[in-house]
């Protein structure tokens, strides 16, 4: 289900269920992101209960693949890409899973933690065995040593992006779209009832 179809389905089903006014797109995307965030946290909690301490267990169905062109920041003297928005993060870890070549896996950048740049600079591991690495600062991803051929060229990113920045033709990245759709409708309907309740309270 692509984003446009998803939004249309939400509008139709919400009208049937809540018999209320038309929803704004922003309202749908905020609730959709909220539902998806809860699902992601549940996945991580379940995995941690079984002993997996990493965030690598997040299913690939949540990932969106996008291309971004690298740019140069003369003040930082670094090449970077602008993700236009913050990727979703869980427990303080950003869910950017892959940064690399557009043509498959001929080059993959290792994502380092931004806060660990200084402490690793004095260690051998800071050299990264010559492997290309990058780090995230907010919505920007800076490269430590970008090969020449990737300058001003597209780079592929696989990450959990917020739904509101997806294009209309992009698939909604969730493992079970039907259940996801119903969860979003239910929460929207609940919030609608809550609003009415509050309004009545104010009137009285």
């Amino acid at each position: 289900m692509n984003k446009k179809d998803f939004y249309n389905s939400v509008q139709i089903l919400f009208r049937q269920k809540a018999k209320s006014y038309e929803l704004h797109g922003q309202q749908i995307s905020i609730v959709a992101d909220q539902v998806r965030g809860t699902q992601l946290k549940d996945e991580v909690r379940m995995a941690k209960r079984e002993g997996d301490m990493s965030l690598g267990i997040i299913p690939d169905e949540y990932l969106t693949t996008k291309e971004f062109v690298t740019k140069y920041n003369p003040r930082r003297a670094r090449w970077y890409i602008d993700l236009l928005t913050l990727p979703v993060s869980i427990y303080g870890t950003s869910l950017v899973k892959y940064i690399g070549s557009v043509r498959g896996r001929e080059l993959e950048f290792v994502i380092s933690r931004n806060s660990s740049q200084l402490m690793y600079s004095a260690l051998e591991a800071g050299g990264m065995l010559g492997i290309n690495d990058c780090f995230q600062e907010g919505k920007f991803i800076y490269f430590n040593n970008l090969p020449f051929e990737y300058e001003n060229a597209p780079i592929l990113i696989k990450a959990v992006f917020p739904i509101f920045i997806l294009d209309d033709d992009d698939e909604i990245p969730v493992p079970d779209p039907e259940k996801f759709l119903m969860d979003v409708i239910n929460i929207l309907a609940l919030s609608e009832k809550g609003e009415e309740h509050n309004t009545n309270d104010n009137k009285t």
């Binding site: 301490m53 994502i111 051998e124 591991a125 990264m128 065995l129 492997i131």
Partner: protein
Amino acid sequence: MIYDANYVVQSCLADTDSDATHYKKYLKWAIDGFKRMNMSNATSVVKSVLLDVRPDHSAFLPDDYVDYTKIGIEHCGQVLNLNSNPNIFLGNSASPPPHCAKTDNDITCDCNNFLNGQLGGDYFLGTSYWQYMSFWHNGQFTAGYYGVGAGYGAGTYRLDLDNRKICLGSCIVAKKLVLEYIGTGIDATGNFTIPYESIEALRAYVHWQRHRFSGNNIAAREEKRRFQMECAALVHKKNAMTAAEWMELIRESFYQTPKR
């Protein structure tokens, strides 16, 4: 397939189904394990470098220097070994060692004389045989330590490990110094190959550290035990005798006797 530190790290990441965010941390643990197991000796990688001799007759040791195997000068593709002398004045930047009065002689002239069989020279012993005794003990070259002549030069260098440099006698007029040395074996910016048989032990070490720092003490204890077992297995593998060695051992122990 190249068996290097990257291989160990990728293998551990695959074990834990983790992503590349932990790459740097795992790499640090792999390097720590490499040091802990003293693998730089196991790799037996001897590097040979040409060091620039500074005006105060000294040359800086490389960053990854652990121990030397040869110190000498290059001539016609060969290394002419120099000899250790603990009495050489180390000097410092405030009072550099004085220049020898005989600096008008070029060392290569003496090398030529030596190679042509004309013994002598101002600062060479002039011995006509290869005096470089292969005194190896526990993986280290120890000739210089035990007073056995390590080379041709009669006391021409002294190691100043505090300042990480080699001080030469002021008679030596050479622009480049050859140093063959055992390095740490860790090349953080490039090719960092590791012995094939040590991969399992290093993986066990990384997993031990992973559990240790995540607070899972029971799993950490188990991984530590596995690391110790893998280390023991590595030692056994390294010490395994070849068929020829077994044959030699048997032949040493058995004597042929006349048939009765």
